[in-house]
């Protein structure tokens, strides 16, 4: 055999390529072992033998083996589908190894190329002869070994083995096992009767004699033999054995070959199993378990007494397999069929079914068993047990019934709870208050429909959101602060909370929700719209204000009434007193005509004064009943009417009244006439020369005049009366408008002292203002302002 090392290099480079294709292009690759390829064959038959001194050849062998092993591993693992094998790393190392192989092949060729060409085969043949010689020697050794093995087998055989010679059965050969069984004693060269005297009476000697004489083999099974093991120990052993006569070519018996083995253990085990079977039967009886065995080939059916009892038969009754099957309740027959089918597949039988006893009683039976198959998996026998589980079933059924009842109860309860939940939800949702529940992290858990509507929000924008995330306006608010307090367990009532979201007033209650242990797990907030209360209180305030105004009017009326009382007590009293006084004097001086005339004048003066007062008071009291409807009044007409009435006085005093066109005002004609009349009368009265009165009017803006009070009106009609009368000191300007206030003595300027009080009253009735400017000797000017509505 010769090889070309260059070709080998090419072959292995190809092999490397094949591995690449196999790994990355899914090409096929069969594993090629290192001793199968041509290089391998050469290495193992020639290379490493002929060139054992060339180090490169050994290196070549090592690298070559490694290449093939790695490729084989790759192919093997890939085919096994192993994914975690480092295929790529292995391929890279194969690449490196192939390169090394190429280098080594070159080196080997350089060293031994010539030699390979010349005489490799000669060396090979010489080598072959050497090998043959070696093989012969090996064969001899094998034979020796075989002989030894046989000897060993005989001596070490796990059976009793001995050879008895002659009619006295003298031990010629005994194996150690034999000695072990019968007790350690010297047997070789002794006859059996003297060597094992304890066998006397057990029939062994007689048997041996018979075999010796009759030249017929004997075999015994499970023969109990008592051995004397020395030191007085008797041991029983069960032995299977063969006595075979040794017959020579002359047909004479020369001895007996004894071969046997100790079966004590098997016999004991069997006995134990028989005992345990009996115990099993006892156990089954105790468990009231019936048992059966059904031969599926012969259809033989064997069963225990307990089974017939379970089936409701008497002890003596004979049950067939058909009876056994027919007893199954018609409704449960399917269960049995299904279980049998299953058992033929799995070998295990298990089912529960009802049986109908001959007396029509129904019992629940639990069947369990096994199927025995032959080698071809044909079912042979069925072993099984049957247990009456009626009571258990009844308990189970009872329990099941209870469970069902309980389930029903729970469902009813659940239903009730659901309805309660719905009810409470509907209660919360039908509330006209804004109700919300927060968890401990200030997140909304619940908000009722009223709240959602009020805030105009959808539940998903609120529920689960932190309060100041859902409503940024609430950050740092009173609400948030209170909520945090409530989470610490405080119940909070805020009776007038102003919502920055709804811009209204609410009565807010925050109630901490606590678990059984008193730990706060949330807060319930109820916000009740206080708007109507606030509105009501606003109305109340307005009503109060009106009342106050009314009160002021009443107070004023009271003051006026007080004045009337004073009038009655004083001002009317005075003229009356004078009348009495002068009539008294008249009576006294009735004869003095001059005096009487004088006193009568005084009396008529006093009664006129009284009449004036009564008229003035009446005029004033009418003014207090200010219930007239105002309309636009032409003041020019008013002035005309008043001057007509006052014409006699005007003529008498030779007075002049100057007047431009007067602006109209909203008011009462009757009252305005009184105003004009009083002022003009005063001007005519308090005059020390020919009176001149100038009346003028114009529109002025409120801000252009000091009214000594706040006014809601923008514009006024300013009406001015100016005279050239006696005037008065400005410090009396306030007093003159009070009733019965006189600045002048009444005998010089008679009058009731009520005129300017009337003027003031009229101005008040018209929501106007009046001021007076005066200087003694220079005249008086009245400034009256009527609002332009």
């Amino acid at each position: 055999m010769t090889i070309d090392l260059e070709v080998e290099n090419g072959n292995h480079l190809r092999l490397k390529e094949d591995l690449h294709s196999f790994l990355y292009k899914k090409a096929e690759l069969k594993p090629c072992y290192h001793y199968d390829c041509t290089l391998g064959q050469w290495l193992y038959t020639r290379g490493i033998v002929l060139y054992k001194n060339v180090a490169e050849v050994h290196a070549l062998e090592r690298i070559h083996t490694e290449i093939h092993n790695k490729i084989s591993d790759c192919v093997k693992y890939r085919q096994e589908g192993k994914s975690d094998y480092p295929y790529e790393d292995t391929y890279k190392s194969v690449e490196d190894l192939s390169e090394q192989l190429g280098v080594l092949l070159k080196q080997v060729k350089e060293k031994i190329g010539e030699q390979m060409k010349k005489g490799e085969d000669i060396i090979y043949l010489a080598n072959k002869g050497e090998t043959l010689n070696k093989k012969m020697q090996e064969r001899n050794a094998d034979l020796m070994q075989e002989h030894q093995t046989l000897s060993d087998f005989f001596m070490q055989a796990p059976g009793l083995f001995c050879v008895l010679k002659g009619p006295q059965h003298t031990f010629q050969l005994v194996n150690p096992y034999y000695k072990q069984i019968i007790g350690d004693r010297e047997l070789k060269g002794k006859d059996i009767r003297s060597a094992m005297p304890e066998l006397e009476g057990q029939g062994v000697f007689e048997l041996l004699d018979k075999v010796y004489l009759r030249q017929r083999s004997f075999s015994g099974k499970e023969i109990p033999i008592f051995f004397d093991k020395g030191k007085g120990i008797q041991e029983k052993a069960f032995v299977n054995f063969i006595y075979k006569p040794i017959i020579n070519r002359k047909k004479e018996t020369t001895g007996i070959l004894v071969f046997g083995y100790d079966v004590s253990e098997q016999v004991n085990l069997r006995k134990q199993s028989e005992e345990s079977e009996a115990r099993l039967k006892l156990a089954m009886d105790a468990a009231e378990m019936g048992s059966f065995e059904w031969n599926m080939n012969t259809r033989d059916f064997v069963y225990s007494e307990r089974l017939s009892k379970i089936y409701g038969y008497s002890k003596k009754a004979k049950i067939t397999h058909k009876d056994f099957v027919d007893a199954i309740h018609p409704d449960d027959k399917k269960i049995r069929i299904h279980a049998i089918e299953e058992s033929l597949r799995t070998g295990v039988l298990f089912y529960e079914a009802r049986i109908v006893r001959p007396d029509k009683h129904i019992r629940w039976i639990k069947f369990s068993g096994r199927i025995i198959f032959d080698r071809n998996r044909n079912p042979q026998r069925m072993y099984g047990t049957a247990l009456d589980v009626t009571e258990q079933k009844m308990i189970a059924e009872h329990l099941e019934k209870k469970v069902k009842e309980r389930t029903k109860e729970l469902m009813i309860k659940n239903d009730l709870l659901n309805r309660q939940k719905e009810l409470s939800e509907s209660v919360i949702n039908s509330s006209i208050d804004n109700i919300a529940v927060f968890d401990t992290k200030l997140n909304y858990v619940i908000m009722n429909e009223h709240g959602l509507q009020a805030y105009k929000k959808k539940p998903e924008k609120i529920i689960g959101k932190r309060v100041d995330k859902a409503f940024p306006q609430l950050a740092k608010s009173e609400f948030l602060r209170d909520l945090k307090r409530a989470l610490k367990g405080e119940t909070i009532h805020n009776f007038n909370y102003r919502s920055p979201i709804l811009k209204g007033y609410f009565e807010v209650s925050m109630i901490p929700l606590k678990d059984n242990e008193g730990k706060v797990f949330g807060v319930l907030t109820v916000a009740h719209d206080n708007g109507y209360i606030v509105e009501a209180s606003e109305r109340l305030i307005a009503a109060n204000k009106k009342l106050e105004e009314k009160n002021l009017v009443l107070e004023k009326n009271n003051r006026e009434l007080e004045s009337f009382r004073y009038i009655a007590n004083h001002d009317l009293q005075e003229p009356l007193r004078k009348i009495q006084m002068f009539t008294g004097l008249i009576k006294k001086n009735i004869k003095d005509e001059t005096l009487v005339k004088e006193y009568i004048d005084n009396v008529s003066k006093a009664s006129r004064s009284m009449s004036d007062i009564i008229r003035a008071v009446l005029n004033f009291s009418v003014l207090s009943r200010n219930d007239e409807r105002f309309k636009e009044i032409d003041l020019n007409t008013v002035l005309e009417d008043v001057t007509a009435e006052l014409q006699p006085v005007i003529d008498m005093k030779k007075a002049t009244i100057n007047c431009a066109n007067l602006l109209p005002v909203e008011g009462s004609y009757r009252q305005l006439k009184q105003l004009f009349s009083c002022i003009l009368s005063n001007s005519l009265k308090f005059a020390d020369k020919k009176p001149t009165v100038t009346i003028s009017s114009k529109i002025i803006l409120t801000k252009g005049v000091d009214l000594h009070t706040h006014s809601k009106v923008n514009k006024y009609v300013e009406l001015i009366f100016k005279d050239n009368g006696i005037g008065f000191e400005q410090k009396y300007a306030e007093q003159i408008f009070k009733m019965f206030k006189r600045l002048q003595t009444s005998h010089l300027y008679p009058g009731a002292g009520i005129g300017l009080a009337i003027v003031k009253k009229v101005v008040d009735n018209h929501q106007g203002h009046i001021f007076v400017k005066s200087e003694p000797g220079k005249g008086t000017a009245f400034y009256i302002y009527f609002p332009v509505l």
């Binding site: 004073y566 007590n569 004083h570 007193r577 009495q580 006294k588 003595t745 009444s746 005998h747």
Partner: protein, 126 residues
């Protein structure tokens, strides 16, 4: 005996004189038409009456104010001052008493009645 009547009503002044005449004793009387005039009279010159009568209702200065002003004048504190009025309102009476009035005379309906009252006043203050 010197009396000083402060009253703006000329009729009353006349009646007052008649009543004093009825008493018949040598009683002099001077008049002022209102408080302002009276104060002037009492402070300027050497006039010091023995008795003063003040009408309650007068223009410019009412009776009680007039009384208070008179009481401020030096030497006038000891002069008895009687208030003289048509009506006797309890409040007005109390107020004048507080201001130091010696009495309150309701103007009577006959001269003799007045003279009786004045007689009583004069006798008390001799």
């Amino acid at each position: 005996m010197n009396c000083f009547l402060i009253d703006d009503d000329p009729d009353d002044q006349e009646i007052f004189c008649m009543a004093l005449d009825e008493i018949g004793e040598s009683v002099k009387c001077e008049f002022a038409s209102d408080g302002v005039e009276a104060i002037k009279k009492l402070t300027e010159g050497n006039y010091k009456p023995d008795l003063i009568f003040i009408d309650m209702n007068m223009p410019r200065m009412n009776g009680n104010t007039c009384l208070q002003e008179i009481k401020k004048i030096e030497g006038m504190q000891s002069v008895p001052v009687y208030m003289y009025s048509t009506s006797a309102e309890p409040e007005a009476v109390a107020a004048t008493k507080k201001s130091g009035a010696a009495g309150f005379i309701v103007k009577p309906t006959s001269v003799s009645e007045l003279s009786e009252t004045l007689k009583f006043c004069l006798r008390n203050n001799v």
